[in-house]
């Protein structure tokens, strides 16, 4: 053991020699929350475009009825991988990137609590992405069971499914470590005087999100481990002949899956709750009720999972319970929307790009919330299950919800991060094109779903042709509009545009605006005083 200790000492000495490595090694070995936040955001943007290319493939095939480009099973790979990459590769890492950049600055800390583990949380993601993308090139192709990888489809597919399962395991480990880090940072590293109820709402929403992640990512790991052993080691978890049940997979999956949708929206609520007061030049209306609403949403998320399974079969009492508990979530969500609107009420508002995205978020996300409420009604859901109505619903909450909030947050904090103002005209173009094309893409899907078009099919009946063509045109436009976003971010990061003042937004009042733009390497070397 003494030898081990010497070895460790030697290894440490080696580390010390490599003090602040430069070039690529700076990014590989970094323990700095801002570097790691940047890595997360770049990774997320890359995956967003890879997932977007898959969506292009889907919408190109659906542009007209009949089979144009892909074999039907490859189409299934496209929809599955589009979902997995966007959920685990684009949206979740983007929010963790925000958490890394913002939480230490907003609570007055020098860095994250576990700076080395923070590095690992990020550097697990590229291997996972590599596993996912490699699965396209193995015999049998990528996972094609939908992003929900329901058994028994997932227990039957080729080696691509194994790669997908391992990728999910690794991304799960990354999320759990990231969340433990975030919880510990928030609970243990706040500046003196920063009581819990003084924390910015973005910090609050991430605290709750991190708890959700620690609670449900291991459950997903368990579920996919059972799939793996059913596939290769002869267990019978999802095989009725052995006393198991494929429906059990759905229960375990959605016990993870429903909280997962809040994992992807609560940080978005947090961002919007920072942006709206800044541009309405009024403090957030109903701060405490926002905190309680977020907590209630998180708690309720554990008891509603079977609303994804109304058509799988369950006792009437179960249907009623899951229907009403799901509808209950509309109450705290309504509180939030009310508070955002009340914050804007009689404010002296200006509409810079972050505010445009935030207001757009409220309008379009609320639509997604309403269709969610409609889908919660069991008899309606039985009609609409697995139709394009569902596709419309969750793209309204995930694109117009999560993604728009990510854009709002990026434009909001980009001046802080880079020290330069983004191009306002470019930002406005990005917003309006995104908003219009988003609705052109997904609004017609409501009609398609109500008319009975099923999701996850490469071909469809003639009567769905017009709306599909409109949706495809919208999707191409939406995808191309995102290049404006890249252009805006790159221009800003390379130092174009006006130099940003420490506080470019008049109404912003959180701690990060007291730092220089860009902020110093270790955010708060000495803790700020919070009154």
């Amino acid at each position: 053991m003494q030898a081990a200790h010497d070895h460790a000492a030697h290894a440490h000495g080696h580390d010390a020699h490599a003090h602040h490595p430069s070039g690529i090694m700076r990014w590989v070995q970094t323990t700095n929350h801002k570097d790691i936040g940047t890595l997360y955001l770049i990774f997320s943007l890359t995956m967003f475009f890879i997932g977007g290319i898959l969506a292009f493939g889907i919408r190109a095939e659906l542009f007209q009825p009949g089979l144009q480009f892909w074999r039907p099973d490859f189409f299934n790979e496209l929809t599955t991988m589009h979902g997995l990459i966007m959920v685990f590769g684009a949206i979740m890492p983007a929010f963790v990137g925000f958490a890394n950049w913002q939480i230490p600055m907003m609570i007055g800390a020098p860095d994250m609590a576990f700076a080395r583990m923070n590095n690992w949380s990020f550097w697990l993601l590229p291997p996972a992405a590599l596993l996912l993308i490699t699965s396209f090139f193995v015999p049998g192709g990528a996972p094609a069971a939908g992003w929900t990888i329901y058994a028994p489809l997932s227990t039957q597919m080729g080696p691509g499914m194994d790669l997908g399962i391992f990728a999910l395991h690794i991304m799960g480990a990354s999320s759990i470590m990231g969340s433990i880090n975030i919880v510990t940072t928030i609970l243990n590293m706040r500046a003196p005087g920063m009581t819990l109820m003084k924390m910015p709402l973005f910090v609050w929403t991430w605290l709750i999100t991190a708890y959700l992640l620690i609670a449900v990512m291991p459950v997903l790991a368990g579920a996919i481990t059972m799939v793996l052993t059913d596939r290769h080691f002869g267990t019978n978890f999802f095989n009725a002949a052995g006393g198991g049940d494929p429906v059990m997979f759905q229960h375990i999956f959605w016990f993870f899956g429903h909280p997962e949708v809040y994992i992807m929206i609560l940080p978005a609520f947090g961002i919007v709750s920072q942006v709206i007061p800044a541009f309405a030049r009024k403090p957030l209306f109903g701060y405490a009720s926002m905190v309680y609403a977020t907590s209630s949403i998180a708690i309720l998320s554990f008891i509603v999972w079977a609303h994804h399974m109304f058509t799988t079969g369950m006792p009437a009492a179960g249907q009623l319970f899951f229907m009403f508990s799901t509808m209950l979530i509309a109450v705290p969500t309504g509180v939030k929307v009310f508070n955002w609107i009340a914050t804007m009420w009689k404010g002296s508002m200006t509409f810079e790009t972050p505010m445009l995205f935030a207001v757009g978020f409220i309008l379009v996300f609320s639509m997604g919330g309403f269709t969610g409420l409609i889908l919660a009604i069991t008899p309606v859901d039985i009609q609409l299950q697995d139709t394009y109505y569902v596709v419309a619903h969750f793209h309204y909450v995930l694109v117009a919800g999560s993604l728009f909030a990510i854009f709002a947050g990026t434009y909001f904090w980009l001046p802080k991060w880079t020290g330069h103002m983004y191009d306002e005209t470019l930002g406005k173009w990005h917003f309006w094109l995104s908003l219009v094309f988003f609705n052109v893409t997904f609004f017609p899907m409501h009609f398609l779903g109500l008319a009975g078009m099923p999701r996850r099919i490469p071909d469809y009946a003639m009567q769905f042709a017009d709306f599909n063509m409109i949706a495809s045109i919208g999707a191409f436009g939406f995808g191309l509009s995102q290049l404006l976003f890249v252009l805006g971010v790159v221009k800003c990061a390379r130092g174009g545009g006006v130099k940003a003042p420490d506080k470019p937004w008049e109404g912003a009042d959180t701690l990060e605006w007291t730092l220089s733009s860009p902020p110093p390497y270790h955010s708060f070397e000495t803790p700020p005083v919070v009154k």
Binding site: Q2, F166, G234, T235, G243, G244
Partner: protein, 282 residues
């Protein structure tokens, strides 16, 4: 040397995480290849596991070095406590998924398979736990609770006491008590693992109880197997702590490394109690 801010320790850039990522990447590709009949996948898997061990050796070595070097103040200590609690909570949820599967099969899916609708498909199936399911013809004997498993329960409960005795030794600066307590705990952990290996051997040879034995076999081996894996990891962790105790690490005031491992050991203990009641006994 350190980027020691006024109040909090921030480690220097580190090369360990990327080794860990490389390890998991090799393990994932290796396991996937191996499971799909590419024999060389096994070597990639082994390479990954070795890299992971190398990484943990180096990483935890740095942590121990920094800790003994006095870099960690009270606030860092509190962070470690928060982090370890979060980790154990995540482990609880991982086991919850498998206990949930056990509950679902025993209470829901097996009774459904014996109901009137399924009589057409499987007329002879009697829905009774333990079962290998209606489609698995092989006979098996379930694992009895009051033999080796009961002894193992006693062993793990005793080990919970010995690790606490070691903690008391540390608190009153009695290094001998600390070392003996830890050594006893490790010995008990290893005995547990040995008995479990024996039990598995019995299951496969005498009882015809296998991983493939339907619902019962799946839940039995996956739950006890993951628990056994955790006992193995816990024992390794205790060995590291024992080595550090012998090397003179830890003081009565500053010993989170010890406490974290002790927490983990108690967690493994509690999971076993649930296993004993829900898998073996009831």
């Amino acid at each position: 040397m350190m980027n020691q801010s006024a109040r909090y320790f921030i480690p220097d850039p580190s090369r360990w995480p990327i080794f860990g990522s490389l390890a998991l990447l090799s393990m994932a590709f290796g396991a996937a290849l191996w499971m799909n009949e590419a024999t060389w996948g096994k070597f990639l898997l082994i390479f990954g596991v070795c890299t992971l061990f190398y990484m943990m050796f180096g990483w935890f070595g740095s942590v121990a070095h920094e800790s003994e070097g006095g870099s960690y103040n009270k606030q860092v200590d509190a962070s470690f406590r928060g982090g370890m609690s979060g980790f154990i909570f995540s482990e609880v949820m991982f086991f919850a998924a498998f206990f949930g599967a056990l509950f679902y099969m025993r209470v829901l899916s097996v009774p459904w398979l014996g109901d009137i609708e399924h009589k057409i498909l499987w007329p002879d199936f009697i829905a009774q736990w333990p079962t290998a399911g209606p489609g698995v013809a092989e006979r098996f004997t379930p694992m009895a609770a009051w033999g080796v498993p009961a002894i193992n329960t006693l062993i793990l409960l005793t080990s919970g006491v010995t690790v606490t005795i070691a903690h008391w030794g540390l608190l009153k600066n009695n290094r001998a008590q600390l070392i003996i307590g830890l050594a006893l705990t490790i010995a008990l952990g290893m005995t547990f693992l040995f008995l479990q290996a024996f039990e598995y051997h019995e299951a496969y040879t005498a009882l015809n109880l296998k991983l493939t034995t339907g619902a019962y076999g799946s839940t039995f081996f996956m739950l006890t197997g993951f628990h056994g894996f955790h006992v193995t990891v816990g024992t390794l962790m205790l060995m590291v702590i024992l080595g550090r105790s012998i090397a003179g690490h830890f003081t009565a005031e500053h010993h989170f490394g010890f406490e974290g491992v002790a927490w983990y050991w108690h967690f493994v203990d509690v999971v076993w109690l649930l296993l004993f009641i829900l898998v073996y006994w009831l």
